[in-house]
């Protein structure tokens, strides 16, 4: 097992997420090739890397939506189960935010946020809706509670999606490029909600192409390429003094430094 | 399971085969006529005067509410009384099915035209085209491709409707199968064979249209 980096803030604790030799293939194509990484409690970890490098695949395997072919994931010390009924229990403790929001179009913003607690946790409707209202207020959308997703802007929809994930009181939040389907004007409002969550000390795993956000908010950055970890380290290292030449090329390609 | 004796089918194969020929001919003619009239009326339904639009809508909705069987028997039995002209059953069926199917085509053409974005027309008008040119060169070709799947299912309906022409004794396949079935006292064999024939006629037809559509779908996007 890789030794925790002394640079990592929470590295003395047991990792909340521990990937051990994770592999995934699609037919003859290897999307993830022996990935071993750790995510520690309270950390904001950003996954960056070129398109097709396997970042989303890694995220989807984390909550078992698209299980890995080889290796293991440990969540809070427990191996991620393969049985549907058991992996559900784990998913209830992880929140996921999608690139295309995936709000349920037949439900209002409030109902979207309340549906998880109501159907999965069997919470009382009134109570769930009260909590949902508080979460909508938190993402700045209390006045849009009764809107259907069609009547919300992209940034608003994504903020509702974040509130929906929060409603399950997850121990970790998984974001898959939460801003890449957004108009430039609305990216900021979503990023600032995410920044606020990071400041609360939540554990977050974020796949992103927003390099300045990663630089500012991440505690730890992992660079992927072709299904492998190219380099990992604190943002200062990755963005200012990358140790691997390919990282430098990738960043300069994006116009960074 | 009773024995399956196909001798009546073999004995009257020519009789049945010409029936299939009539079915195909009736299908092709009614489909061609329906597409022709349906396109003209469909264009009129979208671009015509208010009154014309109302009349066409009324015709379409009337055909949506009356069974094709009723149209067929009405044309065959009632029109001669009104006009004094006697059509042979084949022609009555052709007219009736065309009147019925044209209404479906009108709706499809209308929906196809309305699905083309206005920007496409504006772009063409900006090039200096006249309205007829815009409709002919820009709107219809794109709409035609989008309409393909719906036209495919109308073709399937048309072929099935020709079987109803058996009630006025058009010598198409359904009628002939019925005749052979009752004369041979072997309805199971004959009607099961008829199921095969219709399936072999309909399934490849609809599949081919779906296949063509998948090949050209991109040309209809804008």
């Amino acid at each position: 097992m890789t030794e925790p980096s002394p640079l990592r803030r929470a590295a003395t604790q047991r990792p909340l997420l521990e990937y051990k030799h994770v592999c995934k293939t699609f037919g003859a194509f290897t999307a993830l090739d022996d990935i071993s990484i750790n995510i520690y409690p309270g950390e904001v970890v950003c996954f960056i890397g070129p398109s097709g490098s396997g970042k989303s695949t890694l995220l989807r395997g984390t909550n078992g939506l698209d299980p890995f072919d080889g290796g293991e994931v440990f969540f809070d010390g427990q191996i991620l189960p393969r049985k549907q009924s058991e992996v559900r229990k784990v998913r209830q403790r992880m929140g996921m935010v999608f690139q295309n929001f995936e709000l349920f179009p037949h439900k209002t913003a409030l109902q979207n946020v309340a549906i998880g607690p109501i159907t999965v946790l069997n919470k009382d409707r009134v109570e769930a809706e009260q909590q949902a209202m508080a979460l909508l207020a938190k993402v700045g959308l209390a006045d849009k509670a009764d809107n259907y997703p069609v009547n919300l802007s992209g940034g608003q929809q994504q903020r509702v999606a974040i509130a929906r994930a929060l409603a399950m009181q997850p121990e970790v939040l998984l974001f898959d490029e939460p801003t890449s389907a957004l108009d430039p004007e609305t990216i900021g409002e979503v990023l600032s909600v995410m920044k606020a969550l990071a400041d609360e000390g939540r554990t977050m795993v974020i796949v992103t192409h927003e390099m300045s956000f990663a630089r500012r908010v991440a505690d730890w950055v992992i660079v992927f390429e072709r299904g492998k970890v190219l380099e990992e380290g604190p943002p200062e290292q990755i963005f200012e003094a990358p140790k691997v030449e390919r990282t430098k090329e990738f960043l300069s390609h994006l116009g960074w430094a | 399971m009773p024995d399956f004796d196909i001798s009546p089918i073999l004995e009257s194969w020519q009789f049945l085969a010409t029936g299939i020929g009539v079915t195909i001919l009736l299908s092709i003619l009614s489909m061609a006529a329906s597409v022709l009239f349906g396109t003209v009326l469909g264009i009129a339904r979208v671009y015509g005067s208010r009154l014309l639009q109302l009349v066409i809508t009324f015709y379409v909705d009337t055909m949506r509410s009356i069974p094709v069987l009723v149209v067929i028997v009405w044309i065959y039995f009632a029109v001669p009384i009104l006009t004094g002209i006697n059509f042979p059953p084949f022609w009555s069926a052709l007219i009736a099915i065309t009147i019925h199917i044209t209404a479906s085509v009108v709706e499809i053409v209308r929906a196809g035209i309305e699905s083309i974005r206005e920007g496409q027309c504006r772009a063409a008008l900006a090039l200096g085209m006249s309205w007829p040119q815009v409709i002919l060169n820009i709107v219809l070709p794109q709409a035609a491709i989008r309409m393909l799947p719906a036209i495919g299912s109308v073709l399937s309906v048309t072929i099935k409707d020709t079987a109803i022409a058996s009630v006025i004794a058009v010598p198409e396949f359904m009628k002939r199968a019925e005749t052979v079935a009752s004369q041979s006292y072997q309805p199971m064999e004959v009607f099961t064979f008829a199921i095969f024939v219709y399936f072999l006629l309909l399934f490849p037809t609809t599949r081919t249209i779906d296949f063509i559509y998948r090949r050209v779908a991109h040309l209809g996007r804008s």
């Binding site: 559900r88 995936e102 349920f104 994930a165 | 009356i66 069987l69 009405w74 099935k160 079987a163 009607f191």
Partner: protein, 219 residues
Amino acid sequence: MTLDWSIVWLNKEALAEGALMTIVLTVLTMSLAVPLGIVLAFMRLSKWRSLALLSQCFVELFRNIPLILIVYWSFYVIPILIPVQFSAFTTGLVALVLCVSAYNAETFRAGINSVRHGQTNAGLALGMSQLQVMKEIILPQAARRVLPILATTWVSLFKDTSLVSVIAVGELSHVALQIRSQSFRVLEMLTAMAVIYWMMGYPQAKLSDWVRKKFEVKE
């Protein structure tokens, strides 16, 4: 040419009974073909290949043969295959149900498939079970696409019930055609039949348009 419309009035009761029978057939067929169509659609979507294949064969077969042939086949062949004598009404109903449930199966399958895969993932990510995802997320969205098509199928079915007249089920067209051949008032009877169908069918067609407008998916 002299027309005598009194023939229609004289037979008003028989015609009304025929019209009622047409409605009964439509309602009964649809109420059987909807659950059957749902079962067939879920068979088609199931993991078990043989179930899926069975459903697919059923659906493709009955979508690709004329209803009138299914009616004849049911009338002449079912009594040979199974030693039970059904009434003409039951036979006609069976034929209609076979045909319409095949159409409905396609409608339901397409409706379910039209919901993006990401929606399933979003539900699963919240910790829902497959069943909860189906009930809370997929089916409500599929319903919006299914209802307009069901309404269209309803209108077609209403018209198609006329085809069971060939095996002498006493619905509207059979009754009208009977009176025609007994009375020789051909034009009057046939016109009356068309008008009665029109009076019943026109509101249904308009209603189905309204359903389509109301449930139109805007995304």
